[in-house]
């Protein structure tokens, strides 16, 4: 008899959790994968370049090994944070959970299998940071094959400990709080909390790195031999074993540390299985019960306003928006993200008095007439970036999922449906730009005339990215998913649009700074180039986009 845990893991992975590249023909899938791989090369290259530079600097004080532990701690922390989301939705809110409970499976088998599936996804994050790190360090330090072998073994085990921590946290919360009955609110609070934890961690790191005194640094310097590497692993102590294993190589110490790391990871996984046995079912059973208090509330229907007639496109857009803010995963990834960037930019500035002075340094830069062309282009690049990172348009069709067929029998044209979806995206995008501008005027003393000029141009950036996003999503929507999470977080269309946005933003900035464009040239240039692109993509969406939408058979 085969191990049920592994059988279940295999089934869950097969059951279509892919990253949106699964659908479609083999050839298109290959092309997509190649495009994807190629588009990550520059990012990975940049990362490798940064790592290499930091290594050189650290090598001067004999501390180059610290880069390994920083990388591993960063990986672990990212896995922990993302893990909380993945675990909540995979363990508790995925639609397959209700189908698994009636099967004669032990809770630990379900927990174990779901854990392993999430872990497979975490490898993607891990590999992205860890491979460049391993290669750069390996090459620069002239390490032998043992280093790479250890590296691969460690890669396999990196997600175990942080992900177990997220799992335990989530399982205990689900077991012992009644919040699970209000799953929507709970998910949103959890998401917002995670963002603030992220921000907090960011500030902590900043403070920590700044506050290490000169004496301490000197002491570390004296000790040399990568002692800093071990120091920075305070948050995930187990990481230090991995680092010692990598640095120790074939020595007894290296081998022992590797065994220790792998052993503890396995042990932690087993502990998780038994904890799952104890608490998982108690938390998950009854999760789909609704928290609705069935009031006798037919009274509200006496109000004529409840029956007002609306324009079909408007109603469609409003319904899209309702679904966006009422579905926690959509709210976090599509709505909140529009408003979190301004906070992200301003939060550290507002919190630290030292950095207020940075604002005061930025202020003259922003109001310097010689630089106003660059500032305008910079703000425009930001609008491309914001538009690109917003997933409303690039998941507009994917979010329909298996329910796409509903939109095919409603008597509203595909063109109008696309228009409504675009409008939803634009509504959020424009609001985001507006908030950013208000913040810039209030805090960074951006001159009012600049704010108005930015307003007059940046809508084109947001709008363009909405059109490219929906075009990408119509071309190859991810319609087969079990949890809403897969529609937005495991959807390559979002990444593609983000890369396009970043590419355009980078290009615009490159030209603006290298040619030192003045205000009027910038203004005219933006209108000509991006006005043209807007017209082009509007046409594309309303011709081939509409055609393609017609052909999609949900």
């Amino acid at each position: 008899m085969k191990n049920k845990l592994l059988i279940l893991t295999g089934i869950l992975i097969k059951n279509g959790e892919g990253f949106g590249v699964k659908d479609g023909k083999r050839s298109t899938r290959m092309i997509l994968l190649i495009v994807l791989a190629v588009s990550f090369i520059p990012l990975a290259g940049m990362l490798a370049f940064t790592i290499s530079g930091m290594m050189d600097a650290l090598a001067m004080i004999g501390q180059e090994g610290v880069i390994l532990s920083w990388g591993l701690v960063l990986c672990s922390f990212a896995i922990f944070i993302f893990g909380i989301f993945y675990i909540i939705s995979s363990f508790y809110f995925a639609t397959d959970v209700e189908n698994l409970i009636p099967l004669p499976l032990r809770p630990r088998q379900i927990v174990g299998a779901k854990f392993l599936v999430v872990m497979v996804y975490e490898y993607l994050i891990t590999a992205f940071v860890f491979f460049p790190l391993l290669l750069v360090y390996g090459i620069k330090s002239g390490s032998g094959p043992v280093f790479y072998l250890y590296g691969l073994i460690i890669l396999l085990f990196i997600p175990v400990i942080p992900l177990t921590l997220s799992s335990i946290l989530v399982m205990l919360m689900m077991r012992f709080t009644s919040l699970r009955r209000h799953r929507d609110i709970f998910s949103i609070i959890g998401g917002v909390l995670a963002i603030f934890v992220g921000l907090g961690f960011n500030m902590f790191i900043q403070k920590f790195t700044v506050n290490v005194s000169a004496e301490e640094l000197q002491k570390m310097l004296m000790q040399g031999e990568n002692s800093l590497a071990v120091l920075s692993t305070g948050i995930f102590p187990t990481v230090s074993w991995a680092v010692k294993a990598l640095l120790g190589g074939l020595t007894l110490q290296g081998l022992l540390n590797l065994m220790l790391y792998v052993g503890v990871s396995v042990l932690v996984f087993v502990i998780l299985l038994y904890l799952g046995e104890l608490v998982y079912f108690k938390g998950v059973i009854g999760i789909s019960e609704s928290g609705s208090s069935r009031k006798r509330n037919g009274a509200g229907l006496n109000d004529d306003k409840a029956f007002a007639m609306g324009n079909a496109v408007w109603t469609y857009a409003m319904t899209e928006f309702r679904l966006l803010y009422r579905t926690p995963i959509y709210f976090l990834n599509c709505v909140l993200i529009s408003f979190i960037w301004p906070v992200f930019f301003l939060f550290p500035l507002l919190m630290q008095t030292e950095e207020i002075s940075i604002i005061q340094q930025i202020a003259p830069f922003l109001s310097n007439p010689d630089l106003s062309g660059v500032v305008l282009c910079g703000a425009f690049a930001l609008s491309l970036f914001l538009g690109g990172t917003n997933a409303v348009a690039s998941t507009a069709i994917s979010r329909e999922g298996q329910d796409l067929y509903i939109k095919r029998y409603l008597p509203i044209s595909y063109r109008d449906q696309i228009k409504a979806k675009i409008n939803t995206s634009l509504g959020l995008g424009y609001t985001s730009i507006l908030m950013m501008l208000i913040a810039a005027v209030a805090v960074m003393k951006l001159p009012l005339y600049m704010a108005l000029l930015i307003l007059a141009t940046s809508w084109m950036g947001v709008r363009l990215m909405s059109f490219t996003g929906i075009l990408i999503d119509i071309h190859n929507p991810k319609l087969k998913w079990n949890s809403e999470q897969q529609a937005v977080k495991q959807n390559m269309n979002v990444v593609f649009n983000m890369l396009i946005g970043m590419g355009l933003a980078g290009g615009t900035m490159f030209l603006a700074t290298n040619l030192a464009l003045d205000l009027w040239v910038s203004l005219v240039g933006l209108f000509v180039v991006y006005g043209g692109l807007n017209i082009l993509f509007t046409r594309l969406v309303y011709t081939i986009g509409v055609k393609r939408f017609e052909q999609l058979e949900g």
């Binding site: 509330n297 229907l301 095919r408 008597p411």
Partner: protein, 243 residues
């Protein structure tokens, strides 16, 4: 009236889910669409609704070609899919208003119809709750109310009785009868042969994409030249087709 002429639908270029079928559902009749699982019932319904596009043949709804003038044809139709799990995060009333706006129902009409229908289906008290909190049967009822809001001449119902309580099921059958008697069309699929036998004016039996029989209950009995239950005849037809 629904007319299907030589309609063929192939999946993945090989599997013929529906193979050149001809069907005419006349005004004033309740038409039952029967067949084993995977016979092509839902595919046929999706073709009528414009959810799928036929590879060959034409489909007309009250004379309007679903491929040539989709929006006009769709307005003639009211469709209840077999799964009522849709728009779960909307409140009942929001869903109904959404459907009313899609089908251009005036404020006055929707007010009367929402009130009347939700009272008949005993849903008035829950219209301000999210559909998520409804039971399967209640979801079925809200979908049916949504379908009937624009007073469509042609009803297309995929397994409409599933999950309905006896009272609502009776009510729906009664409404189907009223609708057909007023000279309009009801097309519905079902597995429950007792229901088909009692409610339908005519039935068609489909298997592996082919129509095996189409006619009144009396004609069917004549076809078999004996007086048997629909269930027996159904089994005989689909089994002999299998050989």
């Amino acid at each position: 009236m629904i007319e299907l002429q030589n309609v063929t639908k192939t999946y993945n270029g090989t599997v013929k889910a529906v193979d050149s079928i001809n069907l005419t559902i006349k005004d004033g009749e309740i038409f039952g669409f029967l067949g084993p699982n995977g016979a092509g019932k839902t595919t046929t319904i999706k073709l009528i609704m414009g959810i799928l596009r036929a590879d060959q043949g034409t489909i007309r709804v009250n004379g309007l070609d679903i491929a040539a003038s989709p929006l006009e044809a769709k307005k003639q139709l009211g469709f209840a899919p077999d799964s009522p799990n849709m728009f779960l995060r909307l409140k009942g009333i929001e869903y109904l208003n959404f459907m009313a706006d899609m089908y251009d129902v005036s404020a006055e009409d929707r007010k009367t119809r929402i009130r009347e229908l939700s009272q008949r289906f005993q849903m008035s008290d829950v219209l301000n709750d999210r559909i998520q909190s409804y039971s399967h049967g209640m979801r079925q009822k809200i979908v049916i109310i949504g379908v009937l809001l624009h007073n469509p001449p042609v009803w297309v119902l995929d397994e409409p009785m599933t999950g309905l309580d006896p009272r609502s099921s009776f009510l729906l059958k009664e409404m189907m009868r009223e609708h057909a008697d007023s000279g309009k069309t009801v097309f519905f699929s079902t597995h429950v042969l007792d229901v088909a036998e009692k409610v339908c004016d005519r039935v068609a039996i489909i298997d592996k994409g082919h129509i095996l029989f189409c006619g009144t209950m009396a004609e069917m009995k004549e076809h078999f030249s004996r007086n048997e239950s629909l269930e027996k005849m159904f089994l005989e037809l689909t089994e002999s087709h299998e050989e």
